[in-house]
């Protein structure tokens, strides 16, 4: 029991929530080809939805923070609220860019949505307490009257169960005829339309599913750390997930899982253990982003298919 055990718990929760998010982004970008640079907004929506579902109304909670809603709902319902919010926001982001835009313009439109959402939440304090963010008090405790360490391990278990459930849902979309159809949409949307695929509907369904995974990720994360603010979901966070997808192997669920471990845990946590080389605050975080960008470029140059390339089922070449 100590600092290292706590750190391990934190890492496991981070890994679980990052996995859910990376799977969602891989479904949208790696499998279906929607370059959703605003993906972090679905995670933020899940987190905020969880917070306002969990909290009582602002007045009864002491009035020290402002927000809409405040429903005092139990944990599973608040989690479901996060999933629904992520899904709805995913579809809304999809609508901005899917109907008439080419992929490169889609990416820009969705990035802009991400920036706009952050600006609105920051500027409109009565909505979600602006820049100060929201804090959940008291924090969620899975078991009453137990010691905090055990509570946290139980939470790791909840995250693990959510990951297993999320992965099973994900596989339904990425395998079989629907997974094949989505990859066809990614490879050539016109040819896919020419054989009867409704591109817009397919992409919106994927946005809903990917957003649901993002929402679940955000809700689980905020349930653990107990607070959420615009600083937690800057647009660059999407790029970290995108790096995990590219490094792991676009379109390959297992590859993306490995990529998430490498990027979110080994790399971004690894830089924290570098020796102090300057008194400048935040240097290690900045260094993390520099390394992240470099790794992305190196992979795009030398191994664009990622650690585990996309693999397709074999049917046998002979009759």
């Amino acid at each position: 029991m100590g600092a290292w055990e706590f750190y391990l718990i934190v890492l496991l929760v981070y890994l679980g929530t990052d996995l859910l998010a990376a799977w969602g982004l891989n479904l949208e970008f790696g499998v279906t080809g929607v370059a959703n640079l605003g993906y972090i907004v679905t995670i933020a929506a899940g987190a905020y939805a969880y917070v306002i579902c969990t909290l009582d109304s602002p007045a009864s909670a002491g009035g020290f923070q402002q927000y809409v809603g405040g429903f005092g709902l139990p944990f599973p319902i608040a989690l479901a609220g996060g999933v629904v919010a992520g899904s709805v926001v995913g579809v809304l982001i999809g609508i901005t860019g899917l109907k008439r835009l080419r992929q490169d313009y889609q990416a820009i439109a969705m990035l802009v949505v991400s920036l706009m959402a952050a600006t609105v939440v920051t500027a409109d304090t009565p909505f979600l307490n602006g820049n100060a963010g929201l804090v959940i008090l008291p924090q969620f405790a899975p078991l009453s009257d137990q010691d905090p360490e055990l509570q946290r391990w139980v939470y790791v278990g909840i995250v693990a169960v959510c990951c297993v459930a999320g992965y099973l849902v994900l596989r339904r979309f990425t395998t079989g005829p629907i997974g094949r159809t989505l990859r066809a949409v990614r490879d050539d949307e016109y040819a896919a339309a020419a054989i009867g695929k409704n591109i817009v509907v397919l992409r919106l369904v994927v946005q809903a599913a990917g957003g649901a995974l993002g929402g679940l990720s955000g809700a689980l994360l905020v349930g653990f750390i107990g607070g959420w603010s615009p600083g937690a979901w800057a647009y660059v966070e999407t790029l970290a997930l995108l790096t995990a997808v590219i490094v792991g192997g676009m379109g390959n669920d297992r590859g993306v899982s490995i990529g998430t471990f490498v990027i979110a845990i080994l790399l971004l946590q690894g830089v924290q253990f570098l020796p102090q080389i300057s008194s400048r605050l935040g240097l290690k975080e900045d260094l993390g982003w520099i390394v992240l960008g470099t790794v992305t470029i190196l992979f795009i140059w030398f191994r664009p298919q990622g650690i585990l390339p996309e693999r397709r089922p074999k049917y046998g070449a002979s009759p």
Binding site: P177, T181, D188, A194, I195, G196, I199, P313, K314, Y315
Partner: protein, 256 residues
């Protein structure tokens, strides 16, 4: 169904402008049922644009397209495809990340695995249908002599093979009207010949085809009726053997 014995497709006064350019300038013609209709003309005549508008790839500026007597003008590609109008592209478009056989499988119509029930029910719900599609896809690959390429990623195929995949994929969608934009371009003479025989056979079995083609010899062998376009208009219509002797057709090909 109305007009079930007449032409399968009728084009009436179709117009498509690009800015000031009248790419298709009021064309009317019909596509015969269970036969191959050729659409020919010099470069820039508007053949591909006409095919793009008929196939739902581009909306027309005016005019009508009737399928089996029903107005389908401006319907998007995927909806036309579900009505049985399937097209191929001038530059072969394959799904590069999928294997050859997957390129065929993905085109099978009304797949149970693509529905909400399929997502919930999983393989038990769609597995049987998938097996049928697989058999059909394997047969088609064998017929095209590409059985050994089944598991090859489509992006690694040669240009001619990609074109063949595109044709097989279109057939896999079970069309009633096939719009083909230069399907023989880049194919080996033997594969070309095979494809010609296949098209004739399909037409004999009741499929209707509209074929944009450069080689007049191919058109003469395949098409019962030929529509000649030049500068966005229909210049002449008839059998190729008659059209060859007509002055305005010769002029269009010589002068462009």
């Amino acid at each position: 169904m109305s007009g079930a014995r007449g032409p399968i497709l009728e084009v009436e006064d179709l117009v498509k402008h690009y800015g000031g350019v009248r790419a298709v300038d009021g064309i009317s013609f019909s596509v015969e049922r269970g036969a191959i209709t050729g659409l020919i003309g010099p470069n820039g005549a508007g053949k591909s644009t006409a095919l793009n508008v008929i196939g739902g790839f581009l909306p027309p500026d005016s005019g009508r397209v009737l399928l089996d007597g029903e107005d389908v003008t401006g319907e998007p590609m995927h909806r036309l495809a579900r009505r049985g109008v399937v097209r191929t592209f001038q530059m072969a478009r394959v799904f590069g990340g999928l294997t050859t056989i997957e390129n065929l499988l993905v085109a099978a119509p009304a797949q149970r695995g693509e529905t909400a029930m399929g997502l919930v029910g999983g393989k038990r719900f769609w597995g049987g249908q998938e097996t049928e599609h697989l058999e059909r896809a394997k047969e088609m690959l064998s017929a095209f002599g590409m059985r050994d390429k089944a598991d090859e990623q489509a992006r690694n195929l040669s240009g001619g093979q990609k074109r063949a995949v595109e044709t097989m994929r279109a057939l896999m969608a079970r069309p009633k009207l096939l719009l083909l934009d230069e399907p023989m371009a880049g194919l080996s003479p033997s594969l070309s010949k095979q494809l010609e025989d296949l098209f004739l056979e399909l037409a004999h079995d009741g499929l209707s085809l509209l074929l944009v083609e450069h080689s007049l010899d191919t058109v003469e062998r395949l098409c019962s009726k030929v529509v000649v376009m030049a500068q966005g208009r229909v210049l002449a219509e008839g059998r190729m053997s008659e059209l060859r002797t007509r002055r305005e057709v010769q002029d269009a090909y010589v002068i462009g």
